[in-house]
Amino acid sequence: MTLTELAAQNLVSPMVLFFIVGLSAAFAKSDLTVPEAVAKLLSLYLLMSIGFRGGAEVAHHGLSAPLLETVAAGIALSFAMPLVAFAILRRITRLSGVDAAAVAAHYGSISAVTLAAVTGALNQLKIPYEGYMIAVAAAMETPAIVTALNLARPYRDTTDGAGKDRAFWGEVLLNGSVVTLLGAFAVGAITGERGYTLVKPFFVELFAGFLCLFLLDMGLVAGRGLLQGRKNLSAALAVFAVVMPLIGASAGAGLAILIGLSAGGTAVLMTLAASASYIAVPAALRLALPEANPAIPLTLSLGVTFPFNLLIGIPLYISIADRIAKVAH
């Protein structure tokens, strides 16, 4: 499939269209909302479903490429990308050191719903990916926070905040989304074929539908976030929020080639690197870097980068990954 075909198909997928409905409703100031508890249910479902299917895939096919190397690559990306992000931000924007470090943390880490979207697109295209990419995703959530706190240190007039606190790192490492992803991955890997058959109608067949609901909500939240956060959004920051995912995706592609991932696995690693956290990192930074303005990274990650990845990035990454795989094999 050519990139144009892929992009066209992506843009008329019901998930992407529901995202656009949500975005439009927010811009038009409709009162449509999704209750918080429902949003959390949808997120829980998606994490359990992705995790479980990843585990089941590993149970079925075994490890088709080097697991450890891929996890190491993910961790390295998460540690390193904030350095790049920080350098760019300090050069092209007027963000303070602390705010630049906060934004950098978001872009080093990953977004679970973007992961859900790429796996949804791959399923739809029937492109398989290594199941353990789920474990890679979980491993990429946290390292960026370490780098970012170190980047921020010289700019802080205090050492306040939970960053030096043991309990804090426990909380961050075991945040709800990591635990759900890895837990469901373990369940999928242990339970095998029989378990898979049992929960397939729920965790596999309903995935696309649940993703529609969640992306409708994401559209609403992203749209309202953009309206609220407009004032935080300079041209330079908007450019960053589009360029940084491309840099991340390129780095992800490079490592995927080195490791020899499949087309699907390459697309997933590119997307992970390209995505920016909007759940785990924001919460952690409120504790560890309280003087950073939380609205800036959130507006960028949710309002610009997420829509960019969903609408343009994912089909692009898949198409590139496809070519890489064809050249390699």
Partner: protein, 103 residues
């Protein structure tokens, strides 16, 4: 009915901070506290709403704590040690209670 004067501390604090603040309430000797949800708000750091949110970051909770005047300063110290750099607010009001021994 005979009533006794106590203080009602009301915090509006960031959700990610909640666990830390309530854990320290113990040390300051409060007899208890209650957490109420906040679903939307506005402040210096902008307008927010809980609707559709998966993340607790950016959301607030209200904590109510009835304390004896004698413990008020100790509790406020603890609270400010945690919340000083954060988004949120602290108010104190007079209230009457009927069973004074429990605070």
């Amino acid at each position: 009915m005979q009533t006794h004067l106590k203080k009602r501390i009301e915090l509006i604090i960031e959700m990610p901070l909640l666990r830390r603040v309530t854990e320290r309430f113990n040390a300051a000797g409060v007899s208890g506290y209650s957490v109420l949800p906040v679903i939307a708000g506005r402040g210096q750091s902008g307008t927010w709403s809980a609707d559709g949110q998966v993340s607790d970051a950016g959301q607030m909770a209200a904590v109510i704590c009835i304390v004896d005047e004698a413990k008020l300063d100790a509790v406020l110290d603890v609270v400010f040690a945690v919340v000083s750099k954060q988004i949120g607010l602290v108010t104190v009001a007079d209230v009457a209670v009927v069973r004074p021994e429990r605070f």
